[in-house]
Amino acid sequence: MSNTISTHTSPSASTADTRRAKRAGKRDVWLVFWIVPAFYTAFGVIFFALARVMPPPRPDVTTDQMVHFFHAHGLTIKIGFGVLVLILGGAGVANGIVVYHMKRMTVGSVLAYAYLGSMSIGALPGCLLVAICFLTAVYRPGRDPQLLALLYDLGLLSYVGSLGCFSTAYFAFAVAILYDRNQIFPKWLAYVSVWQIVTEILAVPVFVSKAGPFAWNGSISFWMGTVIFGFWLSCVIVFLMKANERQPVDEAPLD
């Protein structure tokens, strides 16, 4: 019933070692960690300022307006998504470090693999497809407006509407935290992940609704979801940092 059941040395036991080693044993983990906020900052800048996907353009527009959207933002979309497809590996790093700390929990590997798998699935429909659709759309500006409209819908629906892959990841994350006795992450972070699943459910109507709060640019489906995701992500980053700090340098490597 206490921390001593953990398979690893308890954090307080190794302070002396820590001082001597000056985090030397964890330089790799710290390096990987700092990529996470850097990647998400770049991600935010790209989606908000350059690609104009956040806030998303309106779904209830005519084909001409969609064509105009691609013409007006062609250059920034090229720059933004060009950079995104280059740095997308950052998403892999961000998921990887979470998986690493999940593997340090006392709950076996299955949930870490489920998180790894579902987040990897999410990278294509939930992030990359919109970049490819938009890049293709602005690649040949003279394309038939109907085709541009299709790319517009496909890109935005896949980006805002990929729900299940992330829900599975949050589910695995939450269950792992609740069963963990190493207290890698605080228990409330597990409960907070439930909010994330709720926001995914509330994004269901983006496939039905073209205007109002539940459209893909709506106050509930998009804005509430984004704000709560931002909060969740900040918490994860902070607690990843704490998990790094508390990880003893002499911890046995994972299998």
Binding site: K187, I197, V198
Partner: protein, 208 residues
């Protein structure tokens, strides 16, 4: 079960430790553990935002919302409210029984609370199916979009609540466990489900 045990099991989370001191300090204590309260208070804020957004859209087309609202069956709404209130009472009594050491009664009350939760889901499913049969679906208008999404997300909370009540029941069944803070946390979540329904009931069914 001893309090020392609880304290060790939850060390490192200062907010949680108060859960083990109930009997010593009945005057002032946070029921359940602090982690659950983070979830509950945050959820209240998030739902508060959804409710305010609902009101904003209602204010834009009050006539249409009022007309659509007429198609909801108030009897079912009231019935569901009463069912959920009864279940909350059972769960609240269960916490008191567990605190008093009567674990058999606490377990029975938890089951009764869960049974009411199941009844709520059944009634809700009946209500949805009659609405869909009458042709009112998610794409009918903004009101029904809100109706299905708000009640749907609430239903998700109810199912999660049933899961949590199940964990509470397992805690109560096992003589080696019976951590009162677990029982209280489950109850706190369950009452939040009730509280959110009260707001949904007032906004969707009753207000004019």
């Amino acid at each position: 079960m001893t309090h020392a045990e609880q304290a060790t099991s939850e060390s490192g989370s200062p907010a949680a430790s108060s859960g083990s001191e109930i009997e010593q300090h009945p005057a002032v204590h946070v029921p359940g553990d602090g982690h659950m309260w983070v979830m509950v208070l945050g959820d209240l804020i998030i739902f508060g935002a959804y409710f305010i957004i609902f009101m904003v859209y209602r204010a834009m087309e009050p006539q249409e919302f009022l007309r659509s609202q007429e198609h909801l069956n108030i009897n079912i709404g009231v019935l569901n409210t009463l069912v959920l209130l009864a279940s909350s009472r059972f769960v609240a009594r269960s916490v008191q029984a567990a605190r008093g050491g009567d674990h058999a009664l606490a377990l029975r009350l938890t089951y009764l609370g869960g049974l009411c939760g199941v009844a709520f889901i059944v009634i809700k499913a009946y209500e949805w199916s009659t609405k869909i049969a009458q042709g009112y679906t998610i794409s009918s208008n903004d009101f029904f979009m809100f109706y299905y999404m708000l009640t749907g997300v609430h239903l998700f909370h109810v199912s999660l609540g049933l899961l949590i009540l199940g964990i509470t029941a397992r805690e109560l069944r096992n003589p080696r466990r019976r951590r009162i803070s677990m029982v209280e946390s489950g109850a706190t979540y369950w009452h939040m489900v009730d509280l959110l329904w009260i707001v949904i009931f007032a906004l969707l069914y009753v207000m004019r």
